[in-house]
Symmetry: C2
Subunit: 277 residues, 2 copies
């Protein structure tokens, strides 16, 4: 196991969704300092191109390492992990962990049939990063873009009948397509950091069908577990209580207001930064 | 009536929605050259702060005037019009028309009771730009943010049962709140350039209630009418057939694919530009 030179772990996302990853990280690494960047001035990444996402994500990672002294960077965003992991690794002199690989690993641990379904943003699906990561582990994966789920979560409709119907439409199409291709899927990967807030609705809809029971994999949880396996905080760097410092590139008031939904507790004072775009 | 020094009119939006304004403009000013910018790398504006929207919108307007020689700029975006009209006017040496004022003028022409409802993005509603513009014309306006409507249009669900239900929820809440405040609204302003694609669903839902019949105002139409009233193209600048040149700050393929839904015809070859963010 590697040791962090200091207790600072950098975490970033296009917005608030990555706070679900931060929450899972704080539960497993309570003695670390966390610095989080939400690139809210340029969110969402999920509808944008590889070139644009790579440029934005690299700027966040560089801020965390160069200006905040992070010894380890977690990409708490599926889209940035899918489209820009290599670009970020090239851009910062620190280890970088994305959410795709841990999610695929967790799917391999969960699936008995070897067939998995993945729901994610448009950009993540178009990159086929999950299908490739799953394929490398011997799994077959079918991916589906669900672009309405992030706006529904941000509207706060996490248990609304409309959201349930949207989930029913998306999962119905995905399961039908998987069956048409002869797949016998038993695992669903939540390939976007907003989706854990919809887990109760997703599990309800999955339970409706007459089909096989499905295990749900939350890549936020899987990533936090992978981070805790990879790194320990040196005792001289350890602190008594988790510290979280949050930065955003747009309205800090909105971040402070909405962020607590994802973090599960108040995010505290958020500082405004300019990443140049 | 002013005359344009040349036939070039600059039009911009955060994304594709503004193509509904461009479409209305081409119908009323067929002899003009149009240059359109979709700032797709930084869309949407509707969830962002005034500071950020003003900065982005100013960069688009400057590109249109300085680099494309536009003699007149139309802000084909309600959010940018609401939050950044003055900043844009200060930033470019050309007349600038936003969509809010024409929308409010059209509402005054349509309303008999003097009470109007406005649906728009979160940022437009928080600015209260429509309430102010309507108030200055002697109207009372009640505004409501409908953040799910843009994603539903972009998902292509313009006549989906889910969209109908979302519209029913939003309009039901808005009408109930207006009635609770003693308003007798007879006009609904579509305060976002995506919403004209939902007009059939909106009119269907409006017709369901036992309440007063409602007129629907499309600010894209109103803005095109205002532009055609304000400016004529000098005969030496006039061209035989409408020319449209489109630029985008992110994936031109996606712009070419989705843009035709809004423009009502193929957008042609889209050119990639970098506005620096």
């Amino acid at each position: 196991m590697s040791m962090l030179d200091n207790g600072t772990i950098g975490v970033f996302d296009s917005g608030f969704g990555g706070l679900t990853v931060l929450r899972a990280l704080t539960e497993r690494m309570p003695q670390a300092r966390f610095v989080f960047v939400g690139d809210t001035a340029r969110l969402p990444y999920g509808s944008k191109s590889r070139r644009t996402v790579a440029r934005y994500a690299t700027e966040s990672a560089q801020f965390l390492v160069r200006e905040q002294g992070a010894a380890f960077v977690v990409i708490a965003c599926n889209t940035a992990s899918a489209l820009a992991l290599d670009a970020i690794k090239d851009a910062v002199p620190a280890p970088v962990l994305g959410v795709i690989e841990p999610g695929a690993q967790a799917a391999r641990g969960a699936s008995k049939t070897g067939d998995v379904l993945v729901i994610a943003t448009d950009a993540t699906v178009q990159s086929h990063a999950y299908a490739e990561a799953c394929g490398a582990l011997g799994l077959r994966a079918m991916e589906k873009a669900c672009p309405l789920l992030v706006p529904l979560v941000e509207e706060g409709w996490t248990s609304h009948a409309v959201t349930e119907e949207v989930v029913r439409v998306y999962l119905g199409e995905l399961r039908a397509e998987a069956e048409a291709r002869g797949m016998d899927a038993d695992t669903l990967v939540l390939g976007c950091t907003h989706y854990p807030l919809l887990r109760p609705v997703i599990e309800k809809v999955l339970a409706e069908g007459a089909g096989r029971a499905m295990r749900v994999i939350d890549s936020a949880e899987s990533t936090a577990e992978a981070a805790a396996r990879l790194f320990a905080v040196k005792s001289e760097g350890a602190i008594a209580e988790t510290e979280i410092r949050c930065f955003a590139t747009d309205s800090v008031e909105k971040f402070e207001r909405l962020g607590s939904r994802f973090l599960g507790r108040p995010v505290g004072k958020v500082e405004l930064i300019d990443l140049g775009g």
